[in-house]
Symmetry: C2
Subunit: 127 residues, 2 copies
């Protein structure tokens, strides 16, 4: 790697810091319950907005729109508009979206595995 | 399993629905960036509040307090108060917290693995 000193920092350092800050930004985008529940609901399927809204329990129209837009911007979800009247809009996970889904699955498994422990802890804490 | 019909639903069904709703509640608690970043920062260590605040970049005093309380309530974090003057308060992940950390690690790995794809997708979307 060719590095150049700029204000005492090499370009390599600057690249690393930039990548680190971008990674944090991406993590902040996706690490929210609605984004993760949308990814989980899509799974291997292609779904219309209205179907997705029914599948993600409790999500508002606004939250679903915002998160789908964020997921599309990050390239995790592909949005396809079919030129029908009215237009049919469908969403599918991309390769990176499906890869993230594996970690969401692991988080869901964790929830079910520790549900009894968590319930006991909550009862103790609330008493 | 002994089941009893109550309003057309067996007790078994009611138990399942209750577990399902509890699992969703737990998922909603932990699937937020501050909770996940706190879990990641703690790792295998025992840390004081002030050290933890320095480790979790950008977290406010209020967000750290709220999330530590939530994690303690769910039994993911153990809070220990040492009777010094002033009292020293330390936090450590429990077994369930460490198990969740494995999924957070996977999410961080995912971020780094797809960072270039995500950057390209963002550039295309923003244009």
């Amino acid at each position: 790697m060719v590095t150049k000193q700029v204000n005492g920092l090499s370009e390599g350092d600057a690249d690393l810091r930039r990548a680190d800050s971008l990674a944090r930004e991406i993590f902040s985008d996706v690490a929210n319950k609605w984004a993760l529940l949308i990814i989980e609901a899509l799974g291997e399927r292609t779904l219309r907005f209205t179907v997705l809204r029914d599948e993600v329990e409790g999500v508002s129209h606004k939250m679903l729109t915002q998160n789908l837009r964020m997921l599309e911007r990050n390239g995790l979800v592909e949005r396809r508009v079919h030129p029908t009247v009215p237009p049919r809009v469908e969403y599918t996970l991309t390769e990176s979206g499906r890869a993230l889904r594996a970690t969401v699955d692991a988080m869901c498994d964790w929830t079910h595995r520790y549900i009894a422990d968590i319930e006991t802890a909550r009862r103790r804490f609330d008493d």
